[in-house]
């Protein structure tokens, strides 16, 4: 009985010492986590400033930048085109189904174009870019770090920030709007394929409605978003690769961090930019 009463008491009022013992490390851990987060943000900000400074001289080496536009852009083309096509086709199907309920099939072109230009084009391209080009950038630079190639450049009096990081950053920055534009164009084609060819929406109405409803502001929103995503995602990929722990495990972790941070930041920034434009 005494035992049972004791149990009830201990369940109702946990011993204060126990609570204290759990709370202190938890507070300490969260404080350390916060400090680590602030430190990492500071390191990234300093790296970004150094990277921007290195971009100026890197512009005088267009050959290196073109090679990186090819790596980040041209090599992502197939995945971007395929994704754009299927996204457009799904939009065509869903859009037609939805608009048909209200007898507004004529607005299909406008709905698809605005969805692709303002949201799906930039966001999906950014997510695909993070998975394809971002991981490639991080692992490539990370392996250069792990195999002493960056150190060798330093010792040869060649700034790796200028030779390796800046061209890759600029390559990603330039490739992203181009990939987004291609994604949108292919997406529109896919939507037209389903809406006009399969569902029977009038071709003239599909394109003319789109022309009259889509304003320059909508196109600008898409371009600005893709430029911001290009800068942020390239920065994340290059930064993670440049500061990776020089081991196989370190490169793997950096690559994972690139995908996670890029995806979350893309969606977060998309909300912020949409709010700014509305």
């Amino acid at each position: 009985m005494t035992e049972s009463a004791g149990t009830i008491v201990s369940e109702g009022k946990p011993p204060p010492r126990k609570v204290e013992a759990q709370a202190v490390p938890s507070r300490k851990a969260s404080r350390e986590g916060l400090l680590e987060g602030v430190r990492k943000a500071g390191v990234t900000a300093i790296f970004f400033a150094q990277l921007l400074a290195a971009c100026v001289p890197a512009l005088s080496r267009p050959r290196l930048i073109i090679a990186q536009i090819y790596n980040a852009g041209a090599r992502s083309l197939i995945i971007i085109m395929l994704s754009g096509l299927f996204t457009g086709m799904v939009l065509g199907l869903q859009g037609y189904d939805l608009l048909h309920r209200f007898g507004s099939e004529a607005a299909l072109g406008t709905a698809v174009a605005l969805s692709l230009l303002k949201e799906l084009g930039p966001v999906l391209t950014a997510l695909l870019f993070a998975g394809r080009a971002g991981t490639a950038l991080t692992s490539e630079i990370g392996l250069m770090r792990a195999t002493d190639q960056l150190t060798a450049m330093e010792v040869m009096a060649v700034d790796p920030l200028r030779y390796v990081a800046a061209p890759r950053f600029l390559g990603g920055l330039i490739a992203m709007p181009l990939l987004t534009a291609i994604f949108i164009v292919i997406g529109l084609f896919g939507a037209q394929l389903v809406g006009v060819q399969m569902m029977g929406v009038d071709r003239g109405i599909f394109w003319s409605q789109m022309q009259s409803a889509v304003a320059l502001k909508d196109v600008t929103e898409g371009i600005v978003k893709s430029l911001v995503f290009g800068a942020v995602l390239s920065l994340i990929a290059v930064n993670e690769g440049y500061h990776t722990e020089p081991t196989a495990e370190g490169v793997g972790r950096a690559t994972t961090r690139t995908v996670v941070a890029s995806s979350v930041l893309t969606l977060l920034l998309d909300y912020v930019l949409t709010a700014v434009f509305l």
Binding site: D148, Q149, T151, A152, A157, V158
Partner: protein
């Protein structure tokens, strides 16, 4: 032998290309150097030896200005590394060449472009002249025929030789070798040894060789330093080190498991740990 600077060879300070004085350096509070003194004289091959983990590679990073000493002085070509700005550090590095343990070749370009890399970055020489220069250096290391190969197609020894060609392509005054013999077969090892000696004799390059391969080093070094526990424990010509009666030197030169340098990492009592008893 106890004083590394009182040698049989002349040792005027003006002759020192690299001078490391009373250097203290720690990583995360763990001391790596505690009063390190090393002097590298012009035109000589200086070996820096020591057991693994004694900070040999860290010493090279201090010399090339990748890291800075917590205390003490590191001077290269008569200038204090800690006082140099970024531009001066880069200018100093152009006068040095470094051979990395794994070669550190750029993996996305072929052997020719690897060797041409520093020349293209630092000069405006016309391409035909760069070609001649690169082929000359590749011929010197016996790999002119491998100019078109990618680094992934090279053996460890070949990669090391390409890295050597790249290190000498700018005609440096000082060549630094970080563990140049690790993982090499006897033939490649012999080739690298011969090349180090040739570079020193034919081109008059001052060489710093960091290694723990005692017998190989003994055949080419003019002067050797033996590091242990963060400082120089012995210095002298290879013959002087071989004749040393210091227990640390004897253990290192003969490869003994027991001695001043313990074989076992500090641990609890073996029997107690096996029996699961608390430490």
């Amino acid at each position: 032998m106890a004083d590394p600077h009182s040698t049989s060879q002349p040792s005027p300070e003006a002759d020192a290309v690299i001078d490391v004085r009373d250097v203290h350096y720690a990583i995360d509070g763990r001391p790596i150097f505690a009063g390190l003194d090393i002097r590298v004289r012009r035109g000589l091959i200086t070996a820096v030896m020591g057991p693994s983990g004694t900070g040999k590679t860290t010493l090279l990073r201090l010399i090339t200005g990748q890291i800075y000493a917590n205390r003490g002085h590191v001077s290269v070509f008569g200038r204090e590394v800690g006082d140099m700005g970024r531009a001066e550090i880069y200018a100093t590095r152009k006068r040095m060449g470094m051979l990395f343990q794994n070669g550190a070749l750029l993996t996305d370009v072929d052997v020719f472009d690897n060797v041409a890399f520093p020349v293209r970055e630092h000069t405006n020489l016309p391409e035909p002249l760069i070609r001649t220069l690169v082929l000359t250096k590749l011929e010197a290391v016996g790999l002119r025929g491998a100019a078109h190969l990618m680094p992934a197609e090279l053996s460890g020894g070949m990669a090391r030789r390409v890295a050597l060609a790249r290190a000498i392509v700018m005609d440096p005054e000082v060549l630094i070798y970080d563990e140049p013999f690790v993982g090499l077969d006897p033939i490649s090892l012999g080739v690298i040894l011969r090349l180090i000696k040739q570079m020193n004799e034919a081109l008059g390059i001052t060489s710093v060789v960091v290694s723990h391969d005692v017998h190989e080093i003994a055949t080419i070094a003019d002067y050797s330093y033996l590091l242990s526990e963060g400082k120089v424990v012995a210095a002298g010509s290879p013959a002087e080190l071989a004749a040393s009666d210091s227990a640390t030197v004897r253990q290192f030169m003969t490869g003994g498991a027991e001695g001043p340098v313990p074989f076992h990492y500090p641990a609890a009592d073996y029997a107690s740990e096996l029996l699961g008893e608390p430490a």
